[in-house]
């Protein structure tokens, strides 16, 4: 290996490797028969062992090589999470090419931008929908091949660039037979400082920027993930992961590729985003990362189901939720539940918590993580109360997803915890902006040196754009620097904190606080259709559409109550004086949300400007 191994080898004697494909190769020789991937097909989970995984990656790598992909070339992948995603990703890295993930939800215009900007040479497209998007784009001089995974609907297409995944893999397997050492050789000579993957940031402002992550970034993340997990005690048996977070997002990649390869765990691909709840109950993952949206949804689900439960069940739940909340507070304050608390927890575990955990798919979860956006402390406390070890972490695409994290026994509610390990250094700028330095800091934005220079300063500190403050040893995030609201009265307000408090209510899905240079704060609120329609049905309120439901006076009164409850948590200047309900569900396709469901504030402000002005 050319790259130096600058970390000590691990206690079990296995070597630290210089790339993820190298790590996979090591696992394939160490545990060839253990299950690496599972994908649900016609109702059952089809398994792939580590031996087969590595063979598939080599085959795909050879196929790419044959198609003319050379070190430094880009390979785009536009697909939901599935086996071919990770195979293509690692195959591209194995031949020193660069993988680029596109969201399956990216509309054609964005696909055009991303393919053009990344100069992708081949595209792995999931199905007809993705193929259509790529074919609709004219003027893609770099794109030479489009490999489609699902042949349905594409067979009849006539375009010389099209090729099926089956044919692609068959060609790769044949090439691998003829030339079995090429991939190994390329993996051995991977330069740790070369770019492994481009991760396009979701871009709440402006077009997406492609963060270049090097092999060193990824292996560092992989090893750090392993250390973090080892600190919490290793699980019995092989860890199970459920892959449902988009792999083109760094949070999903951290777990399903970096973390999975670090631990030699099994990655189970969810059938689709709609089936995650059912898949969770089947897989009962060992580690589960999720954005706040998922946790809020689970929280709402439990609340709604419990309000429908029969008397005895409800009574038990109410009692043990109170007990759990006390325990959670104690756990956060002292790191243990205490003797009595532990006994009560055990009783609650038998009567309530265990079944709840099983229903949510968290029965075997050793560590649940909330990341990718800020979460309301109430939600975390709720999960701790029912015995699910949920902690908040913080990281960015530009830091390879790892930054800070709360850990069991070392957590403070409302903060994002401490640096994940000694490699990570954090300091605050005078204006409160968080600066971070770690081996995970990205190489820069692809073809955008200006933005890179703005982000990484001369000393290697990365400017995160988040404003924070220290709470003892713990770091607390106030908000995105550009999102902070300064009211007409000159008061600084963090909108995300208020928005998250609002979103604790099961009836509120989206909230956007407005008030920059205004006299008081207002909010645009989007209702959660499932729960609110359920509520309306029980109240005997008839409605037709989302818009109709949002305009019902009873619903407005209901949301008013939720807003009042949230307001109690804040000082007077930070309370929401007025709100309006958004008449439509926000959507990525229409440019109101990013691919990761974050609000595009500018777009919303423009689109609903009349609603906003009404409130002032």
């Amino acid at each position: 290996m050319t790259a130096t191994i600058d970390r000590p080898s691990r206690p079990d004697g296995s070597i630290r490797v210089s790339s993820l494909p190298g790590r996979l190769r090591e696992l394939a020789s160490r545990q060839p028969e253990s299950i690496a991937l599972r994908e649900k097909e016609f109702g059952i989970w089809r398994e792939t062992t580590y031996g087969e995984y590595w063979h598939d990656v080599q085959s795909a790598a050879m196929a790419m090589w044959q198609l003319g992909v050379r070190p430094g070339d880009k390979v785009a992948i536009q697909s939901e999470n599935r086996e071919s995603w990770v195979i293509a990703d690692l195959a591209a890295q194995a031949i020193q090419a660069v993988s680029v993930g596109l969201y399956a939800t990216n509309p054609t215009a964005e696909v055009a931008y991303l393919l053009r900007h990344s100069e992708s040479k081949i595209l792995i497209a999931e199905d007809q929908e993705q193929v259509d998007k790529a074919l609709a784009v004219e003027d893609l001089p770099d794109l030479e091949k489009i490999v489609y995974v699902e042949p349905r609907g594409v067979r009849a297409y006539i375009d010389p660039r099209l090729m099926s995944w089956a044919a692609f893999m068959a060609a790769g397997r044949a090439a691998l037979e003829d030339d079995p050492h090429r991939v190994n050789g390329l993996v051995d000579t991977i330069d740790q400082e070369s770019t492994a993957t481009l991760v396009y940031t979701s871009g709440t402002t402006g077009p997406p920027k492609g963060a270049m992550l090097s092999h060193r970034n990824l292996t560092w993340a992989s090893e750090s993930a392993e250390d973090l997990i080892a600190a919490g005690g290793l699980p019995k048996g092989q860890p199970q992961l459920l892959s449902y977070l988009p792999l083109c997002h760094v949070f999903g990649r951290l777990y399903d590729v970096c973390g999975a390869l670090a631990m030699g765990s099994c990655v189970n691909f969810a059938e689709s985003i709609e089936t995650v709840v059912a898949d969770l109950a089947e897989i009962q993952p060992t580690y589960f990362p999720a954005p706040p949206r998922i946790w809020e949804k689970m929280h709402a689900l439990v609340n709604i189901r419990m309000s429908d439960a029969s008397f005895v069940k409800k009574a038990l739940y109410t009692v043990f939720l109170k007990v759990g909340m006390k325990n959670a507070e104690r756990l956060l304050a002292t790191g243990s539940r205490g003797f009595v608390g532990e006994i009560l927890h055990k009783v609650g575990q038998v009567l309530v918590y265990r079944s709840l955990q099983r229903k949510l798919g968290m029965q075997r979860c050793r560590q649940a993580t909330s990341g990718a956006a800020p979460i309301a402390p109430e939600v975390i406390k709720f999960f701790l109360a029912i015995g699910i070890p949920l902690y908040e972490g913080w990281g960015m695409t530009e830091t390879t997803a790892l930054g800070t994290g709360n850990l069991p026994g070392n957590a403070r509610l409302g903060t994002i915890g401490k640096a994940v390990n000694d490699d990570v250094m954090i300091r605050l700028e005078d204006d409160g902006e968080i600066l971070i330095k770690s081996p995970g800091i990205f190489q820069g934005y692809f073809k955008n040196p200006e933005a890179t220079a703005e982000t990484i300063d001369a000393d290697g500190w990365m400017h995160t754009g988040d404003v924070g403050e220290w709470d003892g040893d713990f770091l607390r995030i106030i908000d995105r620097k550009k999102d902070i609201i300064i009211t007409a009265g000159g008061k600084n307000v963090s909108p995300s904190e208020i928005e998250n408090q609002l979103k604790v209510s099961p009836f509120i899905k989206e909230a956007m606080v407005i008030g920059d240079r205004r006299k008081y704060l207002t909010a645009l609120i989007g209702i959660e259709l499932d729960t609110t329609s359920n509520w309306a049905q029980r109240k005997g309120i008839t409605f037709t559409t989302y818009r109709d439901l949002s305009e019902k006076p009873e619903v407005i009164a209901l949301i008013q109550k939720q807003v009042d409850a949230a307001n109690e948590h804040f000082a007077r200047v930070e309370t929401i004086k007025r709100f309006v309900l958004i008449p439509k569900e926000l959507d990525h396709e229409e440019g109101e949300l990013t691919a990761t469901q974050k609000l595009k504030r500018k777009v919303l402000e423009d689109r609903f400007s009349d609603l906003i002005e009404q409130m002032y």
């Binding site: 599972r38 059952i44 989970w45 089947e282 189901r305 419990m306 069940k313 739940y317 229903k359």
Partner: protein
């Protein structure tokens, strides 16, 4: 997969009858308790429960054709009769007036089933052309035809008022119907019949469970839900309806052949419409389209008279004799009728439905759905 019971990597485990080790262990424990109960149960209870086991086999058969395949059959009594006489003929002793082959029990039970199945299959093609009420009437006709044949065919049935003995429970020289000794322990006739009936029930119940969770069972359900739709999906209606009748008749035959070994006497007028109704009632009360329900229904209705008799000693208005407000036999009929009405109105899924509801209460815990 271990520790993750809902994660299936093979279809076999997805459709397994007992997917988890816990379930397997509990079933085994349950069966051992039921088998072991024979040691301390009094004779009359042994007889009663053995009858319930045998009736369960018959009810499972009726449930297959009526509950699963949706073909209402009022002719079950006829097939029970066929089984009873086939069993008696194959397993009974020949006399100067009666036919008898004196075969072993392992032979004459299946033979009784087969004879019934063949007759069932022979009648089925006519039944295939009919649906609902018409089919019910057709099968009703079978009962009357059967009663006539049973009365007249003296050489097999012994004739009205005389009757004959059922097949002899003989296996390689061992007699189940006589008190004996196993490994130094005295076992009574009743205990042996109890165990024999239990074994037959276990075999037949597992077989039925396998039929209903296989391709055949799914075809039955499709035919029941809508026969035209089933045919459109490529299910051969004739084939599956004939199959349903044949399998159901086989079960009836097996049950019929054993039903009278307990009392030791087969009477030609036992196989009347009332018997058919009793079996329909067991299906309804136990739960249509459920094997467990079949067993629950059969057991419940077989034990009901005994329970009411027991109540006669406790409740003051009940008298065993015909004096007093109500006799126990009157009450029995009233309860029987009330149960059918009550279940149809309040719990159409029968005892099994109640059981499922209880199970779901705990399964959904702490939610309610």
């Amino acid at each position: 997969m271990r520790g993750r019971p809902a994660l299936f990597t093979r279809y076999e485990s997805d459709s397994a009858m007992l997917p988890t080790t816990t379930q397997r262990v509990w079933l085994l424990v349950g069966l051992l308790v039921v088998a072991g109960a024979a040691v301390w149960l009094p004779r009359d209870w042994l007889i009663l429960i053995a009858t319930a086991f045998i009736a369960s086999v018959g009810v499972i058969g009726l449930n297959l054709v009526t509950g699963y395949a949706g073909q209402v059959s009022l002719g079950h009594a006829f097939f029970l009769g066929v089984g009873a006489y086939a069993g008696a003929a194959f397993g009974g002793e020949a006399t100067d007036k009666l036919v008898g082959f004196g075969l072993d029990v392992v032979l004459w039970i299946p033979l009784a089933g087969l004879v019934a199945a063949v007759i069932g299959a022979a009648i089925a093609p006519i039944a295939v052309r009919l649906r609902g009420l018409y089919l019910a009437f057709l099968t009703l006709g079978l009962v009357f035809l059967g009663e006539h044949v049973f009365r007249e065919w003296d050489s097999v049935t012994g004739g009205p008022g005389i009757g004959r003995k059922p097949g002899v429970l003989r296996l390689a020289g061992w007699r189940f119907d006589l008190d004996g000794e196993i490994a130094g322990y005295a076992v009574t006739r009743e205990q042996q019949i109890y165990w024999l009936a239990l074994i037959v029930l276990i075999i037949m119940a597992f077989a039925a469970k396998n039929i209903v969770r296989s391709r055949i069972g799914r075809a039955f359900a499709a035919v029941r839900d809508r026969d035209i739709a089933a045919e459109v999906m490529g299910i051969d209606l004739t084939r599956y309806k004939v199959l349903a009748f044949a399998v159901s008749s086989f079960y009836a035959g097996v049950a019929g052949s054993l039903l009278f070994t307990v009392t030791g006497f087969v009477n030609t007028n036992s196989f009347n419409l009332l018997l058919s109704f009793a079996y329909i009632a067991m299906v309804v009360i136990g739960g249509a389209a459920s094997i467990t329900g079949s067993i629950m229904g059969a057991t419940f209705l077989t034990l009901l008279p005994r329970l009411i008799d027991g109540a006669g000693g406790v409740l003051p208005f009940l008298k065993v004799s015909s004096q007093g407000l109500l006799s126990t036999s009157q009450l029995e009929r009233i309860v029987f009728g009330a149960l059918i009405i009550g279940f149809l109105i309040f719990e159409p899924r029968g005892l099994n439905g109640i059981w499922m509801r209880i199970r779901n209460y705990w399964k959904a815990w702490p939610f309610s759905y």
